[in-house]
Amino acid sequence: MAKYLLKRSAQILVTLFVFLSLVFFIVNAQPGDVSNFYALNPDVPPETRERLQDLFGVNEPLWKQYLVHLKNTFTGNFGISFSHYPRSVADVIGERLPRTVVLFMTATALSFYLGFGLGKVVAWRRGGWFEYTSTVSGVTLYTVFTPWFGLMMIWLFAFKAGWFPIGKFLDPVLWRDAPIDANSVFTQMIITAFAVSFVVLTVFVITAQKRMSNARIIRIVSMVLATLAVVAVWMSWGTVSYAWDILRHMVLPVATLTLISFAGTMLLTRNSMLETMREDFVMAARAKGLPESAVRDKHVARNALLPVVTSFIFSLAFAVDGGVITESIFSWPGMGQTLVSATLTEDLPLAVGAFVFVGIFVLVAHLVADILYAYLDPRIRY
């Protein structure tokens, strides 16, 4: 396992290198240098412009510029954003990256859970109208024009029904006199979510491995305790209403992203289940007198999961693109929305910075998925 992960990490590092070189190449392929873009902006004083020229080394030979570009990337120095002048690109990205990560992770987890669960059922009820309708509606969701779908979600649930806010990250009216800024509340939320999932996961893994007979009770008790702890901590912070506001803003983008990406998993799961069902060990599991649900969940689905995860790794870039589109529809201030708006306002340093981070994000997600896969498949684990 260590060897496998080392190899994958090395490959991903090489990929990162090639990716950064590619970015450099793309940026330099256009006429003029980066500082020309700054020259067009009246907000940027000349001395800042000179500093930026130094930063990017525009007067140096090309190979030196390349090295400077790599160094800047690794030190997180992408220059100054002029649509957010005088904030630095790194500062803007530092604020927005967590928002993207949270949105993406929540939607991915939900869509995987939903898609895998439904795909299982579809495969088990092979043939007939059920399969036909689920395939057609699955494909429709998978290929639906995302902006339109997001728009319909906004129109239906926010505009007409008024259940949720129309896009954005928070409600400015509520936050005007807030004693705390949005990023701190968001950090609190991330820490809470992380801590809770860590505790719950640990309890589940331990009870499963130790073969405890009262596993279920332990799990329920631990979940109740975790919930109580969360309530207590948030009461002491006193920021519940603000967190609630952010949560409300999260619902629609998460739901949209989940719906457009779950169908792919569902269709894949169905195919993978159908292939696994023909394996001999499935017959063996039946012969052992296991109930049908155990055959399906413990044996067929567990094995069908492997190719689904592989394909999921393959389609990560596609999923991230989905996130980029969803963010810009819902004005969710994450990396995707930043990328689009920076591009539209010709804020080149921010656009390049955001793009580099979107790329790094895909790479890291890739690595995480690889680790997950290695954990799921004992043939790789050992």
């Binding site: 090489v14 290929t143 539209l344």
Partner: protein, 316 residues
């Protein structure tokens, strides 16, 4: 020297035999394709849009007056208020700039098809070459091509296009090229390589090699034809992603195109009608549904081709 002299004759007869076999297998596979049902649904939708695309120039030169109906510079002088709701003269109404929606829709269909076709062709040419070459030569050629594929697979295509549109300005041609390169060197190349691997080990490749066939000759005559069914399938998926990407980019206003389905929604958005879905439905639904339908259609065709090519998925 004899083998060299004999060679020109071989390809033509091989190709003729292959053509005969192909026409038979097409007939058999058509039966399988029909049985999946979803493939026919896809074909019907594609046919409908193809018809719209073909009909547009005909209508423009006969019944539709260009001054009014031109999809880009036309203006519906016959309507008092823009955007106008659907009427007999304008079956899908007009847009905020007074242009006929149906005409825009039909005009764009053609460019969507051209875009999809170009992207798919680039994908297949690159993907087939990459697959065949990587499988045939193996070794470091294979390693380099597959590492490159890893990188392509990890490229978020739309994000790349967004950045490129800021730097160099992207039109349909560049878009198709880029989608084709990403897919051909990426996922399609990988899939076709694994298919090519199963061909390379066949005895007739050895036979061709010992008969003195050159690398290029063997790849072109013996390996590539065996990859064609699978690459045809991946063409369908590429068309889907090309149309989808085009729509997203032009919706965001990042593409230099005169008219497209994505741009129609962009126009709606910049005119501020985006959330008046019920009141101005014709500004949103025709274009959005067209994008979704055509993407789904190509995807459905690809999916049922998958069931034809991949017997493990077939129901017994």
């Amino acid at each position: 020297m004899a083998t060299v002299n004999a060679q020109p004759a071989v390809p033509s007869s091989v190709w003729r035999a292959r053509l005969r076999l192909a026409s038979r297998s097409v007939r058999e596979n058509w039966g399988l394709f029909v049985r999946t049902r979803i493939g026919l649904l896809g074909l019907a939708i594609i046919a409908m849009y193809a018809l719209l695309a073909v009909a547009h120039p005909v209508l423009m030169s006969t019944v539709w007056e260009p001054r009014i109906y031109d999809p880009v510079i036309g203006y519906a002088f016959d309507e008092t208020k823009q955007p106008a709701p659907p009427s007999l003269k304008h079956p899908l109404g007009t847009d905020p700039l007074g242009r006929d929606i149906l005409s825009q829709l039909m005009f764009s269909a053609r460019s969507e098809f051209l875009l999809g076709l170009l992207a798919a062709t680039v994908t297949v040419v690159i993907g087939t070459s990459v697959g065949a070459i990587a499988a045939y030569f193996g070794g470091w050629v294979d390693t380099i091509l597959m590492r490159l594929a890893d990188i392509m697979i990890m490229m978020p295509a739309i994000s790349v296009l967004i950045v490129l549109s800021a730097l160099i300005g992207v039109e349909h041609f560049e878009l198709a090229l880029l989608i084709g390169i990403l897919s051909g060197f990426g996922a399609t190349g990988v899939v076709l390589k694994s298919q090519a691997l199963s061909v390379v080990v066949k005895p007739y490749i050895d036979a061709a090699r010992s008969a003195g066939g050159g690398h290029f000759h063997i790849i072109l005559v013996h390996i590539v034809p065996n990859l064609l069914p699978l690459s045809f399938l991946y063409m369908m998926f590429t068309v889907t992603s090309a149309i989808f990407s085009e729509a997203v980019l032009s919706f965001l206003g990042l593409l230099n195109v005169r008219m497209s389905w994505g741009l129609m929604i962009h126009t709606t958005e910049s005119a501020g009608y985006l959330l008046q879905v019920a009141e101005f439905w014709w500004l949103i639904f025709p274009a959005s549904l067209s994008i979704t339908l055509l993407c789904s259609a190509f995807y459905l065709v690809g999916r049922s081709l998958d069931e034809v090519v991949n017997p493990r998925l077939r129901s017994r």
